[in-house]
């Protein structure tokens, strides 16, 4: 009967397989017996029928300025939590009285909590004040299912630096789903330093496990605290900001739209970053946050918009410095090169206007007097360089130099919301004019920094730092040190070299020196930036604005030797660079280097500026 086609010679291996199964079954049963019957750590006593997990929220790290002055700290706040499953009927009237809420709120909040989970705790009422908390604490035993969870709220020592510091907000569902750490109701840095350094600032949440009796009273720590986790306090952060300079910058910008970025060239540390209009950081803390956020969002002047990082303007005449450097590096321009200017540049029916000045000018004088004609010639000599087979190659080369200053790309500072800016490519022009349809004359507006170019104030300050350093820059950053054993990202310690030799910088710096410090009547364009005893090197600019009056721009660094500060100032609709931007930059530099203002008249002049912003311009501002 036992007829089989193949001899089954391994039949006794079934015993081993059965043995393995029974063995593992036994191991599991023994383990279950241990945790369920023998080991009492997992038991709950008769009087205590519930474990409660109380999250310990660590204090968020503090933020200091570069002098060690405290900027951001914490204040205690209390969230009233509820676990719907443990609720029992209670006296709503008294409850509402203690908390100063309506019965409708109670119904609605309980409905939401039940919807979230019957067994898990959720927030019933956010940020109860310490006084209410003290009141509530005594009567909490009457309300089983409710308990209080301590949290911290941000407080600010100054009204300044809102854009820099950023703010803290509640996590949204997207974050909760993508990151295990965050639970509903947790806070997270939303912008600025708070966002970029969230991981360091937040610390590590802890948890305490308590036994709770039926009367909502904590019976003590569960299992001698074996399951508790201590919270780790967030690391403090020392920012690179000079809070006095920041405050001064915000004061100078109060009645203006625009921004100021100041960088220490030798390190890339951001000393001040002003975006105007701004807001008081306190507005975005606590229960008032949502309301204020909506108000700020609907403001037509966009105070929440960080212009220093996210507004793109044409660089204007400040860009002549870069074109001069490229010309010299490409050997199509020499310090002695002279071009005639008859008040405008003419070529094949095209006219680029200039202002009145003596003529001809050499390179240094061309920067001093900001001659448009000179740079139309320089730019064309770069693009029509015989070294390259066609403009397509010479344009690529030019673009490469531009990019090496950090334009047209993220600088990778430690802000999360930088914009790239705009540097056109060959393809941009191919699309507009066809592949062979464009020549150097087609692009002529870029000679003087207008046209298709878009740069952010941060990028401009960074370019200024690169000039101050005679050829390299450190990636701008706003944090100097993270307390604890943390290093800053390596990219902040590396020099980024431009593709221009350092000796060419000395020549343009001469021009920038003369632009500020030239004799009266010599045609210097930025004499309004002069500071006694300090050699400021600067360049004015005016960005064409199709929607209204032009924007006033000024870039500068000082002192000429061993520069301590590089700055870019943008005043929207401010007209010529020398009118508003240059004196503003001058005041900032003086405040930073001397801690005092030598000619108070200038301060008054800037503070009392009356720039006409109508609703229409502000709409198009970005």
């Amino acid at each position: 009967m036992l007829h089989s086609f193949i001899v089954d010679s391994f039949a006794n291996r079934r015993h081993i397989i059965r043995f393995i199964i029974i063995l593992i079954g036994l191991v599991y049963i023994v383990k279950l017996f241990v945790i369920q019957v023998v080991d009492s750590t997992y038991k709950l006593t008769a009087s205590s029928n519930v474990l409660r997990y109380v999250t310990q929220f660590p204090a968020r790290g503090l933020i200091y300025d570069r002098e060690g002055k405290l900027l951001v700290y914490n204040e205690a706040a209390y969230d009233l939590m509820v676990i719907p499953r443990q609720l029992e009927p209670f006296d709503t009237t008294e409850f509402c009285q203690i908390l100063d809420i309506t019965k409708e709120y109670v119904d609605e909040a309980l409905r939401r909590a039940k919807e979230f989970s019957v067994y898990n705790s959720s927030i019933f009422l956010k940020q109860v004040s310490s006084k209410t908390y003290a009141n509530l604490q005594e009567k909490l035993y009457k309300y089983p299912g409710f308990f209080v969870q301590a949290r911290t709220l941000r407080k600010y020592t100054l009204e300044n630096g809102a854009h820099l510091l950023g703010y803290v907000g509640e996590v949204n569902n997207k974050i909760i789903e993508s990151n295990e750490y965050y639970k509903s109701g947790d806070y997270i840095g939303v912008s600025g330093i708070e966002q970029s350094y969230e991981e360091y600032l937040r610390g590590q949440k802890g948890v305490n496990v308590y036994l709770v009796d039926v009367h909502n009273r904590i019976q003590g720590s569960y299992a001698n605290g074996r399951l508790d986790r201590k919270a780790k306090v967030g690391s403090n952060i020392i920012s690179t900001i000079d809070s006095d300079l920041q405050a001064y910058g915000e004061k100078l910008m109060r009645n203006k739209i625009g921004s100021i970025v100041a960088i220490e060239p030798s390190t890339g540390e951001i000393l001040a970053l002003v975006s105007s209009p701004t807001y008081n950081p306190e507005l975005l803390v606590g229960r008032i946050r949502t309301k204020n956020y909506v108000t700020l969002m609907s403001d037509t002047l966009k105070p929440l918009f960080n212009r220093a990082l996210m507004a793109q303007y044409p660089p204007g005449s400040t860009f002549k410095v870069v074109n001069a450097l490229i010309g010299m590096q490409e050997k199509t321009l020499f310090p002695y090169t002279k071009y005639e200017c008859v008040g405008a540049y003419y070529s094949r029916g095209l006219r680029v206007g200039c202002h009145f000045h003596r003529s001809p000018l050499n390179l240094i004088e061309s920067i001093q007097m900001s001659c448009n004609t000179y740079y139309c010639n320089v730019f064309r000599s770069i693009l029509d360089n015989k070294k390259y087979p066609s403009i397509r190659e010479s344009f690529d080369k030019w673009r490469e130099y531009i990019m090496s200053f950090g334009f047209g790309q993220y600088l990778n500072s430690d802000f999360g919301n930088e914009l790239k800016g705009l540097v056109p490519t060959k393809q941009t022009y191919d699309r507009i004019y066809g592949e062979n349809g464009w020549r150097s004359l087609t692009l002529i507006s870029m000679a003087i920094g207008q046209g298709e170019l878009g740069t952010t104030p941060l990028q401009m300050a960074n370019m200024t730092a690169a000039i101050a350093n005679r050829g390299y820059y450190y990636t701008p950053h706003v944090v100097e040190e993270i307390e604890g054993d943390f290093d800053l990202d390596e990219r902040f310690y590396q020099k980024n070299y431009t593709k221009i030799d350092s000796n060419y910088f000395e020549i343009v710096i001469e021009g920038m020196d003369l632009a500020v410090n030239g004799e009266p009547g010599s045609g210097s364009t930025a004499r309004s930036a002069q500071i006694p005893e300090i050699t400021v090197c600067g360049k004015t600019g005016t960005a064409e604005n199709p929607h209204g009056k032009d924007h006033s721009i000024f870039i500068a660094f000082a002192p000429k030797k061993n520069p301590k500060i590089a700055i870019a100032v943008y005043i929207e609709n401010g007209g010529f660079g020398s009118t508003w931007a240059a004196p503003t930059a001058k005041l900032m530099i003086e405040e930073y280097l001397n801690d005092s203002i030598s000619v108070p008249w200038w301060e008054e002049y800037v503070l009392n500026a009356e720039i006409n912003y109508n609703a229409e311009t502000s709409k198009h501002m970005e």
């Binding site: 009967m1 007829h3 089989s4 086609f5 193949i6 089954d8 010679s9 391994f10 039949a11 291996r13 079934r14 081993i16 397989i17 059965r18 199964i21 029974i22 593992i24 079954g25 191991v27 599991y28 049963i29 383990k31 279950l32 017996f33 945790i35 369920q36 019957v37 080991d39 750590t41 997992y42 038991k43 709950l44 029928n49 519930v50 474990l51 997990y53 499953r85 039940k114 989970s117 019957v118 067994y119 898990n120 295990e180 750490y181 949440k205 948890v207 399951l227 986790r229």
Partner: protein
């Protein structure tokens, strides 16, 4: 007609009864796990427990259909079914829907199905079909390669879907191969690789190389039985190491001990080879290959661990090995799970009286962590009963497999046993912290249509084959 009457009377009703008990227990525990006061009827079809009842009803219909199909279908169409499954596994990678990071679901309207669950059945069928062919000798290179392909192709495709748990299930088919006579040395080698892999994560490389050398010399002594040869071997290694150490010190080259030992091994290996050829000592080549293999393996472990595993998978393994603590993620879940089970005590808190199981892992409470509910509400009595029932169930299935006259049915039966066994061991093991957290369902218990139906089909094909076992007398 005669045949069909025979089938119904030959069904193993005891197994069917156990199946029904398990499915029923699953259902009421899902009810307890996601119990919601606003929807307290166990027949509320808007809730998971209501839906599970629909899946169960459908599973019984499916079981019936499996039964009325002719038994020859399963062996004749094994390859076609397998091919179709592979096609679906590829299709789901392209058209599938991502759920919890795994792209392993087809969504048709409101209905979701997971092909990976069904691919196990096809693999078990093909494996049975292939190994039961007349001309197949299991211990040949050709068979090894084919068997490996049959098992690993679906496994790799599932791995690509990011469903590591389901992909690992396929390794359990080794049990089937063992029963069918695969060489023990292959299994020992496999076991050795696994142990070495784990050791390499826990111990220093230097210690592992010492261990490997010690093992090799011990094996050498066992095979060779001459202490003198072993002594000479150790002596040579010791001398070369000492010389290299000296050179390293004198020239202060700053090499670590590990590399000195490695270099010494290389040099001594050459000497051994020469001596072995000269004096015709056996097995030296094999042992050297073994030694080199284990060095390479320990070397590759870091690479595999860091590059092929996702951070959360690394974390789970580290937590079980005690190398890392992860209070907010895995460890916390496992702690919760243990508290829930432990708090059940001897008799449990009673049906719907559990408090812990509802606490922290709400999303997986009715699926991967369903065993917690059993532990908490039914206590040790409940868990003892369920574990014992599972053990007896598997024991019974092995008995049924062994009474088959066709190798195809027997091998398939072992396939069923292996898959169920793996799921049970991993799922329960993770809830009590004995194995890493790998998200695979507990057969017949966990919530979900796909897994319930797949396990039902898997089981009932086997019962169908068994019911016809007497027909194979001819």
């Amino acid at each position: 007609m005669q045949r069909r009457v025979n089938i119904w009377s030959n069904i193993d009703w005891l197994t069917v009864a156990m199946y029904l008990v398990l499915v029923f227990l699953g259902w009421i525990n899902i009810y307890a796990a996601v119990y919601n006061e606003d929807h307290h009827s166990i027949f509320d079809f808007s809730q998971r427990y209501g839906k599970q009842l629909i899946w169960i009803a459908a599973a019984l219909v499916i079981a019936f259909i499996v039964f009325i199909i002719d038994i020859n279908f399963y062996s004749y169409f094994a390859y076609i079914v397998y091919g179709l499954m592979i096609f679906l596994l590829i299709a789901v990678l392209i058209f599938g829907k991502e759920v919890h990071g795994a792209k392993s679901w087809f969504e048709i309207g409101r209905f979701r199905i997971q092909p990976a669950e069904f691919a196990k059945i096809a693999t078990a069928l093909v494996l049975a079909r292939y190994l039961s062919s007349y001309n197949v000798q299991i211990n040949t290179l050709k068979s090894y390669l084919r068997v490996a392909a049959i098992i690993l192709i679906p496994s790799l495709l599932i791995l690509l879907q990011n469903d590591t748990g389901s992909a690992l299930v396929y390794f359990v088919f080794i049990l089937v191969l063992y029963r069918e006579g695969i060489s023990e040395s292959i299994l020992l080698l496999g076991l050795f690789v696994v142990i070495l892999f784990i050791l390499a994560l826990v111990l220093e490389k230097l210690i592992i190389i010492f261990l490997s050398i010690a093992i090799v010399f011990i094996i050498f002594w066992f095979l060779n039985r001459r202490l003198k040869n072993v002594g000479i071997g150790i002596g040579i290694l010791f001398l070369t190491s000492a010389v290299l150490y000296g050179i390293n010190e004198v020239l202060s080259m700053g090499l670590s001990y590990y590399y000195i030992i490695l270099a010494a091994l290389g040099i001594s290996g050459l000497v051994y080879t020469i001596l072995a050829i000269r004096y015709k000592i056996k097995n030296v080549a094999l042992l050297l290959v073994f030694l080199i293999g284990s060095v390479l393996l320990t070397y590759s472990v870091d690479h595999v661990f860091n590059n092929f595993l996702e951070p959360h998978q690394q974390k789970r393994i580290n937590v079980v090995l005690g190398l890392e603590s992860d209070p907010y993620g895995v460890e916390y879940n496992v702690n919760q799970s243990k508290i829930a089970i432990g708090s059940g005590g001897l008799y449990g808190k009673g049906f719907l009286r559990g408090t812990q199981t509802k606490f922290d892992f709400v999303p997986e409470q009715s699926t991967d962590f369903i065993f917690c509910t059993i532990g908490e509400e039914w206590g040790f009595m409940g868990t003892f009963f369920v574990v014992s029932l599972f053990v007896f169930f598997l024991y019974r299935l092995i008995g049924i497999a062994e009474r088959q006259r066709s190798p195809f049915s027997r091998i398939y039966g072992y396939g069923v046993v292996s898959v169920l066994f793996f799921h049970i061991v991993i799922n329960i093991g993770m809830t009590i912290g004995l194995v890493p957290v790998i998200g695979i369902p507990l057969p017949f218990f966990s919530y979900g249509g796909s897994s319930l139906w797949a396990f039902t089909i898997l089981l009932f094909i086997f019962l169908r084959l068994d019911a016809s076992r007497l027909e194979l007398l001819k």
